[in-house]
């Protein structure tokens, strides 16, 4: 359906829906409708508000329909460059997420031991006063740096970015950096002098060949990517999928390469070898826009397809053929950078190899290749200079820090995550802040605010995280749901969902930079409050008044919008979106370089890495193999779920209530395991999770197992998700630290199948 149709049908729909229909009595009753059968859109006038979806971090623009003060339906905002009027399954489940009866409803303070989960309700005054006193004590005793702030989901800005920097802690971190994107962003900074950004800048319109390495379009259901993929594929574009598993998107692939896990860099080097030796690269582009080609050519001379075939378990012919398929379609041919790239601890180098292939294909800044995204112009609400410059990174990160000096907090301490010592650069590594909570090395982290981060279902090495939670002087959990880690908090603050609150404006780096707004469709349910309100109330209590100088959130938003000549009212009148012009292609730079590397070129050879003692051109490094009787533990997504966030949402839980573990059918048979059998998984360190049902399938290699992430949660307050399936995080007791980006490689864990408790 085209956008125009959608818009028209949407408008007609509202008009018709708002009108009372005399004929309604003639209609058959809607099957099993929750009410007397009158469809929701005939129960009263439809009131629509604009918003931004928060069911995953992709942030599609939405139109929320409410009737008689209740949210009834969420649809994509046709004017929004991400949703274009459509939503994924999770986005459709937003109403159900909001109405989850398990939601946190009132502020609470701990009444038993940490981790026990006994709380008593308190007033907002009591909760906030208590936290403020504790924060000031910590600051007095050990400096503001002794507070760590972790943030995820869409209100993270208020705590991980704004409050943290105003307060003066460099220890603010997001799982979306070191547990997800850091290697991708650092590799891009090093190679191209720019980050990839939240919205991967694949120029889908005109793309003729797409290569995916471990990207799971269709299981990872980011709406726009599915839309663009379907259009590109539907127009006959070639698709190459490299994956140990015949994923949903692999079913659409023209070439599926079932690679041995952990060997992707060997494949990438062999592709570079074919491009160079067969002279299939874009010679003009390479001459004009890259440096270090000769050294790269020499480096890959012995990385032949035959060499890679023996490592990757692919055939020499497959490797050569796919390189040619890519090259025939250059520069409208790209390897997508992907998300969640923290796999084996050498991930920055793998991503660099990916970008080198794209560079030889001449893809950057070319139509149908990779465009350059641009952030929209928008001025922040004025505030005094921050006490410390943050580097929390995350999905929406701008350019990462590049100077050699780490910023110091007010009492002279830099980040406690080991940056510059155990790893080179990049956003604050969340998992590296856990040890300092226990060991006090380099200094003790004493307090922790966890905003929307599912700590015990995302950070590897759970026993260590629990130990840290027990050791802290203050733990504050801000969340919508009683997630597993909430039981460890001293104070729990219940947050309003994205349908009940205003938020910051979304400035999205994009081909067409744009600004989106979120306004409440309904008043906050229960005693919940928005993140901005909580951050401000805390700020006012700890002397940060100057950073929260606005009276109302509407005033704050209007002031920011004034910088682009708009206002909340005007945005509402204009479909909730402001679109600006981008500079997507090389020709938009009038000969100047868009690549902000030291050489102003794409650095095929990285002097920066050489200077820091790393391989200036990626090398293939092997990763340990599974011991006998063990499989490599791979994990990913189910299309109706996001992280460990939506498993309890009634409408989504109903479709996929528990996970299953994929085991190669032959491997299962030889272990005497049946399809559907309940088993437990036990990892190399004896950590166990389950029971979980076996999916014996041809769709995966026999040296790895796969499970959708986010299940096996141990959170009794989540009545639907508690104890369902197995937890990959529980089985990730180990991780490999990426020495360049600080990413935590999690695919180095192995599991065996256990059939008895």
């Amino acid at each position: 359906m085209s956008l125009v149709d959608l818009e028209i049908s949407r408008r007609t729909f509202f008009t018709a829906g708002a009108a009372t229909m005399a004929a309604a009595g003639l209609l058959p009753r809607a099957a099993h409708a929750a009410t007397d059968g009158t469809p929701w859109y005939r129960q009263g006038a439809i009131e629509t508000t604009f918003g931004v979806c928060d069911m995953c971090p992709w942030r599609c623009g939405i139109v929320v329909s409410s009737v008689n003060g209740e949210v009834r339906k969420i649809d994509g905002n046709p004017a929004d460059p991400k949703s274009r009027g459509m939503l994924c399954a999770r986005g459709q489940g937003g109403v159900s997420f909001m109405n989850d009866p398990d939601r946190l409803q009132a502020p609470m303070m701990r009444s038993g031991k940490r981790g026990e989960g006994s709380f008593e309700e308190v007033s907002w005054e009591q909760a906030l006063d208590f936290i403020a006193d504790k924060l000031l004590e910590i600051k007095e005793r050990s400096g503001p740096e002794a507070l760590a702030i972790f943030g995820h989901t869409s209100g993270e800005y208020w705590f991980t970015d704004h409050f943290s920097q105003a307060w003066g802690t460099p220890n603010a971190a997001k799982p979306s950096s070191s547990l997800c994107l850091s290697p991708r962003e650092e590799a891009a900074q090093l190679t191209l002098g720019m980050g990839v950004g939240g919205h991967e800048p694949v120029d889908w319109d005109g793309l003729r060949c797409l290569t995916l390495i471990g990207s799971h379009i269709g299981e990872d259901t980011r709406n726009t990517v599915m839309q663009d993929f379907a259009d590109m594929w539907g127009d006959g574009g070639k698709v190459i999928v490299v994956d140990p598993r015949f994923s949903s998107v692999a079913t659409k692939a023209d070439h599926w390469l079932p690679i041995k896990p952990g060997t992707d860099t060997a494949l990438l080097l062999a592709w570079l070898n074919v491009l160079v030796t067969e002279e299939l690269y874009d010679a003009d582009y390479v001459r004009g826009w890259t440096t270090g080609f000769d050294r790269l050519a020499a480096h890959v001379a012995d990385k032949s397809p035959a060499w890679a075939a023996s490592i990757t378990d692919l055939s020499e012919g497959q490797i050569i053929e796919t390189a040619r398929v890519m090259a025939e379609r250059k520069p409208q041919s790209v390897i997508m950078p992907g998300r969640h790239v923290t796999w084996y601890g050498n991930d920055t180098q793998r991503l660099r190899a990916t970008y080198l292939v794209n560079a030889l294909l001449g893809a950057y800044g070319r139509r149908g290749g990779m465009y350059f995204n641009k952030a929209p112009y928008l001025e922040e609400y004025p505030h005094p200079p921050y006490a410390v410059a943050g580097s929390a990174g995350g999905c929406s990160a701008g350019a990462a820090e590049t100077s050699d000096e780490l910023p110091l907090g007010p009492s002279g301490k830099a980040r406690a995550d080991g940056a510059r010592e155990t790893f080179l650069r990049g956003a604050t590594a969340l998992q590296e802040l856990i040890d300092p909570m226990i060991t006090g090395d380099p200094y003790r982290i004493e307090g922790l605010i966890v905003y929307g981060t599912n700590l015990l279902n995302s950070v590897p090495n759970k026993p260590r995280t629990r130990e840290a939670l027990a050791a802290l002087d203050l733990v504050v959990a801000i969340d919508v749901l009683p997630q597993e880690h909430v039981a460890w908090a001293d104070v729990v603050l219940p947050e309003s969902t994205y349908l009940e609150r205003y938020d910051t404006l979304w400035s999205v780096s994009h081909k067409t930079p744009y600004i989106a707004m979120r306004e409440p469709a309904v008043a906050p349910m229960y005693q919940t409050r928005p993140a901005w309100w909580m951050a401000r109330e805390l700020g006012l209590r700890v002397g940060l008044d100057a950073y929260f100088g606005w009276e109302t959130i509407e005033e704050y938003l209007d002031r920011e919008l004034r910088s682009v000549g708009s206002s909340l009212d005007e945005m509402r009148a204009n479909d909730g979106i402001i679109i600006q012009n981008g500079k997507p292609y090389l020709e938009d730079y009038d000969g100047a370089s868009p690549f902000h590397t030291p050489s102003e070129k794409i650095e095929l050879f990285s002097q920066q890495l050489a200077d820091a003692g790393f391989d200036p051109i990626p090398e293939y490094e092997s990763t340990p193999e599974p011991p006998r009787g063990f499989y490599r533990l791979l994990y990913g997504r189910h299309p109706v779920h996001t992280f460990a966030k939506t498993q309890n949402t009634p409408a989504l839980n109903e479709r996929y209530p528990t996970n299953e573990v994929w085991i190669n059918a032959q491997a299962a048979a030889s272990e005497g395991i049946r399809d559907g059998q309940e088993v437990w998984l036990e990892n190399q360190d004896g950590a166990r999770s389950g029971p979980i049902a076996v999916k014996a399938t041809e769709r995966i290699r026999s040296d790895a197992v796969f499970m959708p992430h986010g299940f096996g949660q141990n959170a009794p307050g989540l009545t639907r998700a508690h104890g369902k399936g197995a937890s990959d995080t529980e089985l990730q007791t180990d991780y490999a630290l990426d020495p360049i980006s600080g990413g935590a490689g999690m695919r180095i864990n192995f599991v065996k199948i256990v059939t008895e408790v």
């Binding site: 359906m1 099957a31 099993h32 009027g85 709406n223 599915m226 259009d231 539907g234 949903s248 692999a250």
Partner: protein, 255 residues
């Protein structure tokens, strides 16, 4: 004017957005779903192919379920198969007669997609169609949808040489015209669904009787209940045998 859907199973990537949009737009209660995504992968590692079956009501023109429905709860309108749930007696005849295994009994009543009757009557589009990120679904006038399906099958041949349209004629022509990546048999669909012989007879003989009964008595629901409790499978089999005896077994009605 006959309406129809196009469902492009080449494009469908099994993301389940349609199922959730149907659920939330129609506010279906727990346990009711009109769409199931069923993995359909064939072959053995690493020689695999396939995708997803997007299993839902195909809105047959010659709908077996409508033919056997003794109460008129299932009926045709605008080329689509509607369901007036309050009229359903719970006899389950539709469940056993559907050649595509679609209707499901929930709380004693038949449930299945009704083509978003209420929503389209209100001027909206079917929920599943408007949300599908892969644009695997379309809705509109049937002749237009047939053209679209042919164009889509043509485009799909870039990836699947055997791509084809299904539902032009099957079961009298489907109201959900499928674009298939391969032959119907490969995807578990009957190339020609069994002509609804039994259903025709049921409609021709039994249904008027039951409707007559309902009309003739004040306790219609009770009578429908009696009908429902009969062993209808045995009954249908008897009728079919009788049909074959008189040598009129094949009454396929392809338009």
């Amino acid at each position: 004017m006959a309406q129809a859907f196009v469902l492009d199973l080449g494009r469908c990537i099994g993301c389940e957005a349609c199922a959730l949009a149907c659920k939330t737009g129609n506010e279906l209660p727990t346990g009711v779903s009109y769409i199931e995504l069923i993995e359909q992968v064939r072959g053995s590692f690493p020689d695999l192919e396939g995708g997803f079956d997007n299993h839902r009501c195909l809105h047959c023109q010659d709908a077996a379920c409508v033919a056997v429905c003794p109460t008129g709860a299932l009926y045709k309108e605008d080329g689509l198969t509607r369901l007036n749930t309050p009229a359903c007696s719970g006899c389950e005849y539709c469940v056993t007669s559907c050649p595509y295994d679609v209707p499901r009994m929930v709380d004693g009543a038949s449930t299945k997609c009704d083509g978003c009757k209420a929503t389209t009557d209100a001027g909206g589009g079917p929920w599943c169609v408007s949300t599908c990120p892969s644009k695997a679904l379309e809705y509109g006038e049937r002749s237009e949808m047939l053209r679209t399906a042919r164009t889509r099958a043509e485009a799909l041949r870039a990836h699947y040489p055997n791509a084809q349209v299904y539902g032009e004629t099957q079961a009298g022509g489907l109201g959900v015209i499928l674009v298939l990546p391969d032959d119907p048999e490969v995807l578990g669909l009957p190339r020609d669904p069994d002509p609804p012989t039994v259903a025709n007879v049921w409609q021709g003989v039994v249904q008027p009787v039951s409707i007559g009964l309902i009309g003739a008595t004040a306790v219609a629901a009770g009578v429908a209940g009696v009908i429902a409790r009969r062993n209808h499978m045995a009954e249908l089999r008897d009728i079919e045998e009788a049909e074959q005896l008189v040598g009129d077994g094949d009454s396929s009605e392809e338009a």
